[in-house]
Symmetry: C2
Subunit: 207 residues, 2 copies
Amino acid sequence: MTVSTRRTQDQRSTETRRLLLAATVQMLMDVGYANTSTSGIAKRAGVSRGAQTHHYPNKMALIVAATEEMFANFAAGIEALAADLRNGALDCDTFFDAVWKEVLRGDWFYSSLEIIVAARGDTELRQQLAPLILNLHKGLEATWSQTFVSVNPDVVTSRVALNLAMNVFRGMAVQAVLRRDDGYFREMLLALKTILVIHVRPTTSNT
Amino acid sequence: MTVSTRRTQDQRSTETRRLLLAATVQMLMDVGYANTSTSGIAKRAGVSRGAQTHHYPNKMALIVAATEEMFANFAAGIEALAADLRNGALDCDTFFDAVWKEVLRGDWFYSSLEIIVAARGDTELRQQLAPLILNLHKGLEATWSQTFVSVNPDVVTSRVALNLAMNVFRGMAVQAVLRRDDGYFREMLLALKTILVIHVRPTTSNT
DNA sequence: CCAAAAAAACCAACTAGCCTGTTTGTTAAC
DNA sequence: GTTAACAAACAGGCTAGTTGGTTTTTTTGG
């Protein structure tokens, strides 16, 4: 059946790891941390349990690696949007719409939420994840500083304003789990944008 | 040993239920949903497993009941703070500080977060919880409308502004799991308050 | 008013299933 | 031939729900 092409060790490893991490994220997204089992991940990935434990000795290693990948993808996604905003391909309004859509529809936010919440009750996981999230935040803040400028830095810096906005998104996404009310979120997003543009402007627009 | 006071059936039931719900919330807070087991709850509550299943036939019934109680307590706590703000016992600044402290330090937020996240991967739980959260939001929005008035309703209503603020709190609390950085949150809170007072005022202050 | 039956509250052990990590064995690459 | 990658079965532990039995309160009927 499968065309058993000859692959180098490195190709085999990389592919298997990729399958496992993708399956981990997908399973977290689909059924939540509580129902995410190592065997389930292996099954979804189409990889044997032995191969799984070979590459990731235990569940935590798998989770941490998946988180690392998720964070990297998220930072890259946001930075790409921010770059479009800086070079004028996006206006401020559509930028925030896109970020919100990314948060709500993409796999990464809810998957990472599952992991973060799980980490709250697991000291070791928390310790492993803490540096990852710090790194993510650092990257995001660099993007914000580069992409937005504050109207009045003495009141609110662009970094703080965008962090606030991200926290609104986080909060809204949590709410969205139990309250799928598009009208409510549209109204919220509109207000957020209205308030934001009072305090910050994208670095391109110098009106 | 125990002074076996004679209690009515109703007293016995009520007390047992209270112990079980309190233990549920406490356990969710302490070890997270993933590590919250029905037997663990019974143990913490000092109640036999039989008594537990007598009052709550399965885990979900217990979780839903605990959530109901948590939401009620939270709404009451916020309303109490809001009442203090309305009658002048609190100023706007300390009110928001108090709400944030309530979110971060109280049991309710993280316990309910655990449940909400768990509900994301559990259709039945989600369906049972949805009306509870709708009710909670309705109560909160009533409090907001009563306690705050918008400076310019055409731009941002007080209801939306306060919902935004609550979402910021939600998001910050999620962040706080992996990033315990008091300075960061102080800065954030300050900015939030600064921005809020531009758009809404408590109903008492008519300056 | 009291004994006896009924019902509610409570207790403790058991079961079937799942999950994680381990171990032993096999195949593919180097 | 040696090492890395993969496979599959197994063991120990935990969990949720069930079941048969006990204690406490309430109801019933003489």
